[in-house]
């Protein structure tokens, strides 16, 4: 019985919790995502599932709402290594916030 409970926890713990259909999954088209797909490009290597937003409050935890693409959520970061989980070609860049374009925030984008 204990082994089964342990197995349940192990299975539940598998996978990359940072990435979901809402934010972070790779994509080619909108059907790949819960909300919106930023198609593969130098800005979004491999494509990125994200969420349309007006402010960072609309974004999942750990993401900021930036001005580009009409307002989308991107992972917040402090240094390039914070974006390594997204794969090669991603780095940490300053982008204007959607709500206040005079302010910049560090988010993961293609380098």
């Amino acid at each position: 019985m204990r082994a089964l409970i342990l197995l349940a926890f192990l299975v539940a713990g598998c996978g990359d919790d940072n990435v979901s259909r809402t934010l972070g999954a790779r994509c080619d088209r909108p059907d790949d995502c819960a909300d919106r797909c930023l198609a593969p490009s130098p800005d979004y290597p491999g494509g990125l599932c994200t969420v349309d937003c007006f402010s960072s409050g609309d974004c999942p935890d750990g993401a900021e709402c930036i001005e580009s693409e009409g307002g989308v959520c991107l992972y917040a970061c402090r240094e390039p290594s914070d974006c390594e989980f997204l794969g090669p070609g991603w780095t940490c860049k300053a982008e204007p916030l959607r709500m206040d374009q005079t302010q910049q925030v560090l988010v993961c984008r293609g380098d």
């Binding site: 089964l4 197995l7 990435v19 259909r21 999954a25 790779r26 994509c27 995502c33 599932c49 989980f85």
Partner: protein, 201 residues
């Protein structure tokens, strides 16, 4: 006066209960488990990720193997809800994150029920089996072939010579092979069902 009334209120129901308990002693024919029977049950199955869950309907065929053991051949159908929950992670592997009651499944199970000593009309049992089935998550176009083990138990209550009511719960653990490049994935779930079984002539 009041003491007599209280004593009356306490004693009369006790006497009535005692009468009922004598009257409700089941005869041996009623409690005896038949050599062969068929049954149907309804309940809930809980899954997640690529294990389907939802409404569970199952049909049973039971055949006596020994004094304590019965073969329990089961066909079960699971009807869940849920939308698209699969995605490609950053390594480009397909990952599914379906909920507790998502997906659909059909499974055939060969199991053995071991009955324990009767307690009145009730016969508790343990159940161990292996199944083979299909799991389908339509909105993600994901289909898999699963081979789960079933471990659980329940209780059978005779309600008449030909009819018994059975409730059971089980853990399901195994592996499945899924398409869309997912490969082999674990299967892990629970199911709780209740139904009726009928003696075959």
């Amino acid at each position: 006066m009041s003491r007599r009334l209280i004593a009356l209120f306490v004693l009369v129901p006790q006497l009535a209960l005692a009468d009922e308990s004598i009257a409700e002693q089941p005869d041996d024919d009623e409690v005896e488990i038949p050599d062969q029977s068929v049954g149907a049950a309804i309940g809930i199955a809980g899954g997640g990720r690529v294990t389907p869950g939802g409404l569970r309907l199952s049909g049973h065929y039971l055949y006596q193997l020994s004094e304590q053991d019965w073969f329990d051949g089961t066909a079960s159908f699971t009807f869940g809800t849920g939308g698209a929950e699969c995605f490609r992670d950053r390594m480009d592997d397909v990952v599914c994150d379906h909920g507790f009651a998502d997906g659909r499944g059909i499974e055939v199970i060969a199991a053995v029920r071991r009955y324990f000593a009767a307690q009145g009309r009730f016969r508790p049992f343990a159940r161990l089996g292996v199944g083979i089935g299909f799991a389908r998550f339509g909105d993600d176009d994901v289909t898999g072939l699963a081979i789960p083990l079933h471990l659980g138990g329940g209780v059978r209550a005779s309600v008449a010579k030909q009819v018994a009511v059975v409730a059971q719960a089980e853990l399901v653990a195994g592996i499945g092979r899924f398409d869309r490049g997912m490969g082999t994935e674990p299967q892990l779930g629970i199911a709780v069902t209740a139904g009726a079984e009928f003696r075959l002539p």
